[in-house]
Amino acid sequence: MAPAPAEELGYKPLDGGWGWMVVVGAHISIGFAYSTPKVLSIFFKEIQADLGASYSEIAWISSIMLAVMYAGGPVSSVLVNRFGSRPIVILGGLMCGVSMITASFGSSIVYLYLCIGIIGGCGLSLNLNASLTMISKYFLAKRPLANGLAMAGSPVFLCVMAPVNQYLLHKFGWRGSLLILGGLMFNCCVAGALMRPVAASCKPSCSPQKKMEEEANTTLKDSCMNSAKKFLDLSFFKDRGFVIYLIGNMLFIFGAYGPIVFLPAYAISLGVEEYSAAYLLSIMGFVDMFVRPGTGLIANSKWIRPRIQYFFSFAVVFNGTCHLLSTLIETYPFLVAYAVFFGISFGMVFALIFECLMDLMGNQRFPSAVGLVTIIECFPMLLGPPAAGLLVDVFGDYKCLFFMCGSVILTGGLFLFFMNIYNYYMLEKEKPAKDREQNQTNVENQDQVSEAEMKQIPEAAMEQTEPEAKVKNGAQSDLNGQSITEEEAVIERANPQTTENNV
C-alpha cells in the first residue's frame, strides 16, 4: 500500500517509451551533480602549487560546491514548479559549463570559490532537483527501477571522470582541464533537451484541475508574498511521514560520508600500502554502479514495492551494521569484503532515497519536498566528515570513527523502521475519515465538469478503466483489498462509481 495521499495526476504516466530517454538524461544530470565535487579534488594539488593556497583553503572549493548544490534545493523547486523541468536542466547545464570555463582563467582562490563553488553549485542544484521531478512525472509503476537507473549515474560518472580528469590534468594542466570539463558539463543541456515536458492528455477530470491551476497561477503572479511562502513550504512538517523520513535521512547522511573520506587512511593505518588502499574506494564505486539499478529492479517487484519504506530502512540498517563490523577488521582481504558490502549498502540506500520521498509525497508535492529535504540535509552532510575527523584526532584511532558513523546510521535505520510501522498504523486508523472526505470532494469535482463531457463517457469508459486497473496494477499491492493505490486513486477520481464496484 502506498501511504501517499491520493494525488490527482490528471494523466497516466508513460512508464516507458520516451520515459527511458528521460532516464538517460537524468542519469547524465545526476551523474555530473554528484561526481563533480568529488573529482575536482584531482586538480587540487596543481591549483595549490599555482595559486599558493593551503590545503584546507583548496578543500573549501568542493565543500562550497556541495553545500550550494544542496542548499539551492528550495530555489530550484520553485523554478521547476513554475517553468517545468526542461528549461531548468538546460539552464543548470549552461551555468555549470560557464562556471568551469570562467574558473579556468582564475588567478585567486576566492575567484575559484565564486566560480566553481557558487555558480557551479547553483547549476548542479538546478540539475538535480529538475531531473528527479521529471522521473516522477514519467514513471509510476516502474518508478523505483527508473530511480535506480538514474541514481546509478553518480558512481558511473565518478568511475569515468576520475581517470579522464587525471589524463586531462597531465595533458593540459589544470586550466585547460577546467575548460574542457566545462565543455563536458554542457552535456547536461543535452540531458535537458531529452526531458520532454509531459503532454497532459485531457481526460474529464483534467479540466477542473487545469482551471484551478490557472486560478492559482494568477494569484501567485499578483502577490510576491505567496511566492515567498512557496519558497520554504513549512506545511510539510505537519506530514508525519515526511518528518520521519527527514529525521532518519539526517542521521544517515551525518554518518554516511565519514567512512568514505577516511577509508584509505584507515587501511594505511592497518598496514596496507597506499595503492591498495586507494583501490578500496574504486571497488566500492564499482560495486555501487551495479547495485543501484539492481536495487531499483528489486524495489519494483510486487513484494517490495508496497513495503518500500521498510526496504529503505533495511538498507540503512545494513549500511550501519557494515561500519560497525568494520571495527573488527585487521587484514586486507576483509577490508576488500567490507568495501564490497559498503558499496552494496550505499548503493541500496541511494537508489531508494528519492524513490521513498516520491512514494511519500506523491507527484505534486515532490519538487518542493525534495528542495526542503536537500537544504536540511546540507547541515549533517557538511558536519559529518569534520566531526568524524575530530574524533580521530581526539582518540587517535580510526575505529572510533567507524563505530560512531555506524551507530548513528544504525540508529537512523531503526528509527525509520519502527516509526514507519507506527506511521502506517496511524494511517490505517485515520483512513475511514479520509475516505469519506475524498468522496465528498470527488462529488464536488464532478459537479464542476460540464454535463456534456459526462455524457461523452459511455459505460465503455468504466469498462476501459477496470481492466486497465487490473492489468497495470502489478506493481502495486493489495495487501488488504481496501488499500487504495495511487493508480486506483486516479481512476477513482475519474469514476467514483468504479471504486465502489471494486471495494
Binding site: 497516466k12 594542466g173 575548460l179 552535456n187 543535452v190 481492466p467
Partner: protein
C-alpha cells in the same frame, strides 16, 4: 714568595694529573673519503679508568648492533657498502666515567636527484624544476645547465630576467619565467658539487601551448549543439503524431479486443478526437 711557589706547584701537579689521566682515542682511519667500504676502529689509550662497554653512534643516534659490554679498549665498525645514505658522522663511544668519544667522518659524493624527471609548463606561464640532494657532505655549489645541440650551456642566476635559481644545501630550484614553446623546451641539467666531486641529473621540460585545450573544448561544444538540435528536430517532427500516440497507448490493451466490442470502437473514436 713561598705562597707563590705553593700555588704554582699545586697547579702544575693538577695539570700533570689531568694530562696523565685524560684518555686518548686513536681512530683508524681518521676520515673516510670516496671509498666503497671501510673498517672504522677506535683505540682507547692512556686510560686506567674501568671500561664498562662501548658502542657506535651515527649522526647522533646509537647503532644498536654495535653495542658491546666488552671491557676492551678497542672497538671496530664495519661498513661493507658505503653509499650516499651511509655517509655522515660516526662516533665511537667508550662507557667510562666520564664517557670518551671520537668522531670519524665518512664522506661520499653527493647524490643529486630531480623531483620529477619530466616537467610541464604552460606557455607564458612560470615553469619550475627542482633537484634535491642527500648524502654527506651536502653540496656547497649548485649549477644549472641547458642542453643545447649536445653541449651544456650554463644558466647564470640574475643576469637574465628569465631565469631564477634558488638554492639551499639540500635543494635547488630553477624558475623560468615567460615560457615559450620555441626556446624553452628541452633538457635541463642540475649539478651539485661538494668537496669530493660533482653529480648531475637531467630534467625534460615540456611546454603546453595556451590554446592546446581550446580545440577539444570547441569539439565538445559542437557535439552538444548538434545533439540538442537533433533532439529538438526529432521532437518537432513527432509532435503531430504525439497526441494520438499518447492516447493510443492508453487504450493499447484493448486493441486486441476491439473487433469484438462496439463500445470500444466508440472509446477509440473519442480518444482520437
Amino acid at each position: 714568595m713561598k705562597l707563590l711557589w705553593a700555588v704554582s706547584a699545586l697547579l702544575l701537579s693538577c695539570w700533570r694529573a689531568n694530562a696523565s689521566t685524560a684518555p686518548n682515542i686513536i681512530t683508524e682511519p681518521s676520515e673516510v673519503s670516496n671509498q666503497t667500504s671501510a673498517v672504522l676502529s677506535c683505540n682507547l689509550t692512556e686510560s686506567n679508568l674501568p671500561i664498562k662497554g662501548s658502542h657506535w653512534m651515527y649522526n647522533g643516534k646509537v647503532i644498536e648492533t654495535s653495542q658491546s659490554g666488552d671491557a676492551a679498549p678497542f672497538t671496530t665498525l664495519r661498513l661493507d657498502k658505503i653509499t650516499h645514505s651511509s655517509g655522515g658522522k660516526y662516533e665511537c663511544v667508550f662507557l667510562t666515567e666520564p664517557e670518551a668519544k671520537q668522531t670519524i667522518e665518512v664522506k661520499t659524493l653527493p647524490h643529486v636527484a630531480a623531483y620529477k624527471h619530466s616537467e610541464h609548463g604552460n606557455e607564458k606561464d612560470k615553469g619550475s624544476m627542482v633537484c634535491v640532494s642527500h648524502g654527506y657532505p651536502l653540496p656547497t655549489d649548485w649549477t644549472w645547465f641547458k642542453e643545447e645541440d649536445g653541449s651544456m650551456r650554463p644558466i647564470i642566476n640574475g643576469t637574465v630576467e628569465k631565469y631564477e635559481i634558488k638554492s639551499t644545501p639540500n635543494k635547488t630550484t630553477l624558475i623560468i619565467n615567460d615560457l615559450s614553446m620555441e626556446g624553452d623546451i628541452g633538457d635541463y641539467v642540475c649539478s651539485g658539487t661538494n668537496e669530493l666531486g660533482t653529480t648531475t641529473d637531467k630534467i625534460h621540460l615540456r611546454v603546453r601551448s595556451r590554446l592546446a585545450a581550446l580545440w577539444p573544448f570547441l569539439g565538445i561544444v559542437a557535439e552538444v549543439i548538434i545533439l540538442v538540435t537533433i533532439i529538438f528536430i526529432y521532437e518537432k517532427r513527432r509532435k503531430p503524431d504525439e497526441i494520438t500516440d499518447d492516447d493510443d497507448s492508453g487504450s493499447a490493451p484493448l486493441k486486441s479486443n476491439s473487433t469484438a466490442n462496439h463500445k470500444d470502437k466508440n472509446v477509440r473514436q473519442r480518444n482520437s478526437n
